[in-house]
């Protein structure tokens, strides 16, 4: 028995860690970022997520769709109803006119984020055969998540001398295979921030990663807050239940 417990615990720990190495390998060499949303008490930095949305709107949205998001969702990063209405109205989204004919019209908060291309084929035709992935859940769909996105955005460099780059491809330190179809999307001062934050490349990469992490996990802050309460409650219940168990069993031992 005494041997079984550590053996089983070790087995459980090992089995549980099977998932971990995949993440660890992906993060190897990537610059580590201290995200506001990591850890059990973490939550989104609204200001950063809003700056990230600004970047998405001005830069990423030219090629990348986020079709799972609606403009109303932006309330989740602290935008007001008026701001959301204004943002939605500034975008032309596909709809139908009164005679049932397709027609672009100003968006409403209920509109899906406007997709830059009507479909994948149109995107590939316009972009030299490349298809910019939808960014709705990209932060969950890549090993390393936001840390990977930050590394990718800041990871453009000149290719090593011995590397033969394919036509129209760009060298990136952190992209699998190092050849990426997307030209470096952000530089210093790519966007103008309305707050006093300086738009360095690193800062922009942090902000867009925060925004994309929020887009993929809009309930992360609420989830973690609820988790702290529930885990504390369950730990308390563990204590209570164990005490009751001791009491019940006391007439046996």
């Amino acid at each position: 028995m005494r041997r079984l417990i550590p053996a089983c615990l070790a087995a459980a720990a090992l089995v549980a860690s099977v998932g971990a190495p995949r993440i660890a390998v992906a993060e190897e060499g990537m610059p580590s970022v201290d995200w506001s949303f990591s850890g059990p008490f973490g939550g989104f930095d609204y200001a950063s997520a809003q700056r990230g949305f600004l970047i998405y709107q001005n830069v990423c949205a030219n090629c990348h769709a986020m079709h799972l998001l609606h403009y109303r969702d932006l309330a989740g990063i602290g935008l007001s109803e008026e701001q959301i209405k204004a943002i939605a109205a500034s975008v032309q989204v596909p709809g139908l006119d009164d005679s049932g004919q397709p027609k672009d019209m100003p968006g409403t908060p209920a509109s899906q984020f406007r997709s830059p291309y009507p479909n994948e084929l149109a995107a590939r035709a316009a972009l030299n055969g490349a298809y910019p992935p939808d960014l709705s859940v990209i932060a969950n769909a890549r090993e390393g998540g936001p840390t990977y996105i930050h590394a990718l955005i800041t990871g453009y460099a000149d290719p090593p001398a011995d590397m033969k780059m394919a036509d129209g491809m760009y060298y990136n330190q952190y992209f699998p295979g190092h050849q990426i179809g997307m030209p470096q999307p952000l530089q210093d001062d790519s966007v103008t921030y309305t707050d006093n934050v300086k738009p360095t490349l690193d800062q922009e990469a942090r902000d867009i990663s925060t925004f994309l992490m929020w887009a993929a996990n809009p309930y992360l802050t609420e989830r973690k807050r609820m988790g702290v309460h529930i885990v504390l409650f369950l730990l308390f219940m563990t204590g209570v239940t164990y005490a009751v168990k001791r009491k019940v069993w006391s007439d046996l031992h």
Partner: protein, 425 residues
């Protein structure tokens, strides 16, 4: 014998009901007074934990099914709709998603407990076999559930696993087409997997019922592996084991909650957040962690047909385990040799899990082959032989004897120890 049952319940309503359908008497007998060995450790709580996991899975699953759309072009987005637009949909989905892992962790520990303490031996062979059937049903259910979000791993996992049946000589290809409902994994496949994923859990409930009935016929095994010799060796299930199982349950729920709230995607594969794309194969197609050991066995055999046979054989072997183990002594505590060989067996299982997560090349392939060989060696050679050569330690005369020695050591019986069970019997 026809006629009303003579219920002993005083409450007139309960008495009326119980006389016509004695479920109250049954519950009282099977979960109230049920005489249970007094020496369980917490490993005996894992059956109950599995029951909790099953119920939570069914409950969350029913609510997910209200919002999920089983169509190839909408499944992925409908899952995200649950995560974003359904009130607390993210919670229901993460509980269900991680619940699969928690269910398997609990069931695997439950099984290793059975292996260590010889719970599969006479007269509990059928109980064990029903349990193995539950494991098979769970694997099928979990596999089909993993297909439903229609991400890249869903799609390619489904393709790889269904393709295994093509290894069957002559009719393999036809069977795979029949399983798919077409010429590739597609909408028809998704639809039938959804239907079966909703059906099989209720089949599991039925088989779990048989498992519990069989358990209550033979009574539980216990850490000493000897049968109770009299009422002094047992205690009523309630309140002693209801409260002990509650402790285990709260700890179990704490771990589950920690996973759901703080790392809901830890055990998942990022690729499954990429919508299924039949034109792009992921670099590494891996199943969920709980199927990895079997995946490793499959890939460690160079021949496809024999790989499939080995994979299914590794589970089917468990059905005949009661007859492979030749030792009459149940608990490994009294089996010095088996106790030693149990350790490399557990290691082999864990190693197979790790190997399954890695590409079958180089040293991973070699390690996988050694672990696979050891797995089969353990059941087919080591177990039958140990029983012949091992000299078991002397068994205690009764369950109470070592309990008392551990407890106070004074030798005298505490008043409650003998009184409580006698009231019951």
């Amino acid at each position: 014998m026809a006629g009303l049952y003579k219920s002993e319940f005083k409450n007139p309503v309960i008495n009326w009901l119980d006389s016509r359908l004695p479920i109250f008497t049954m519950m009282q007998r099977e979960y109230g007074a049920f005489p249970t060995p007094r020496n369980f450790n917490y490993f005996w709580s894992f059956g109950g934990l599995a029951m909790v996991a099953l119920m939570v899975m069914i409950l969350t699953g029913v609510f997910l099914a209200m919002h999920y759309v089983p169509a190839a072009d909408r499944a992925f987005d409908s899952v995200e709709h649950i995560m974003r637009d359904v009130n607390y949909g993210w919670l229901i989905r993460y509980v269900h998603m991680n619940g699969g892992s928690m269910f398997f962790i609990v069931v695997y520990i439950h099984m290793f407990r059975g292996l260590y303490y010889g719970s599969y031996k006479s007269p509990r062979e059928l109980l064990w076999m029903i349990g193995v059937a539950i494991l098979l049903l769970m694997m099928a259910t979990a596999f089909m559930g993993y297909v439903l979000p229609w991400g890249q791993m869903s799609y390619w996992g489904a393709t790889v696993i269904t393709n295994l049946f093509s290894a069957i000589p002559f009719v393999g290809k036809a069977i795979v087409t029949w399983l798919w409902g077409g010429f590739s994994v597609d909408n028809a496949t998704l639809n039938r997997f959804y239907s079966l994923h909703y059906l099989l859990p209720f089949v599991i409930v039925g088989v779990v019922f048989l498992h519990v009935v069989a358990l209550h016929i033979t009574g539980s095994n216990n850490p000493l592996g000897i049968e109770p010799t009299g009422p002094q060796d047992t205690i009523p299930f309630h309140p002693y084991y209801t409260i002990k199982d509650m402790v285990a349950m709260v700890v179990f729920l704490t771990l589950w909650a920690a996973l759901v709230f703080f790392a809901p995607n830890l055990l998942g594969n990022p690729d499954n957040y990429i919508p299924a794309n039949p034109l792009s194969t992921p670099a590494h197609i891996v199943p969920e962690w709980y199927l990895l050991p079997f995946y490793a066995i499959l890939r460690s055999i160079p021949n496809k047909l024999f790989g499939v046979i080995a994979m299914f054989g590794s589970i089917l072997l468990l059905f005949v385990l009661p007859w492979l183990d030749t030792s009459p002594v149940r608990s490994a505590n009294f089996r010095p040799l088996y106790r030693i060989f149990f350790i490399p067996f557990v290691i082999a299982c864990v190693v197979l899990g790790i190997v399954g997560a890695n590409p079958p090349q180089g040293s991973w392939l070699l390690i996988g082959r050694i672990a696979t060989a050891w797995y089969f060696l353990h059941f087919l050679v080591i177990l039958p032989l140990i029983g012949k050569f091992e000299r078991p330690l002397p068994l205690p005369e009764s369950i109470l004897q070592p309990v008392l020695r551990q407890g106070g050591g004074s030798g005298g019986l505490p008043a409650g120890a003998t009184a409580a069970p006698r009231e019951v019997s």
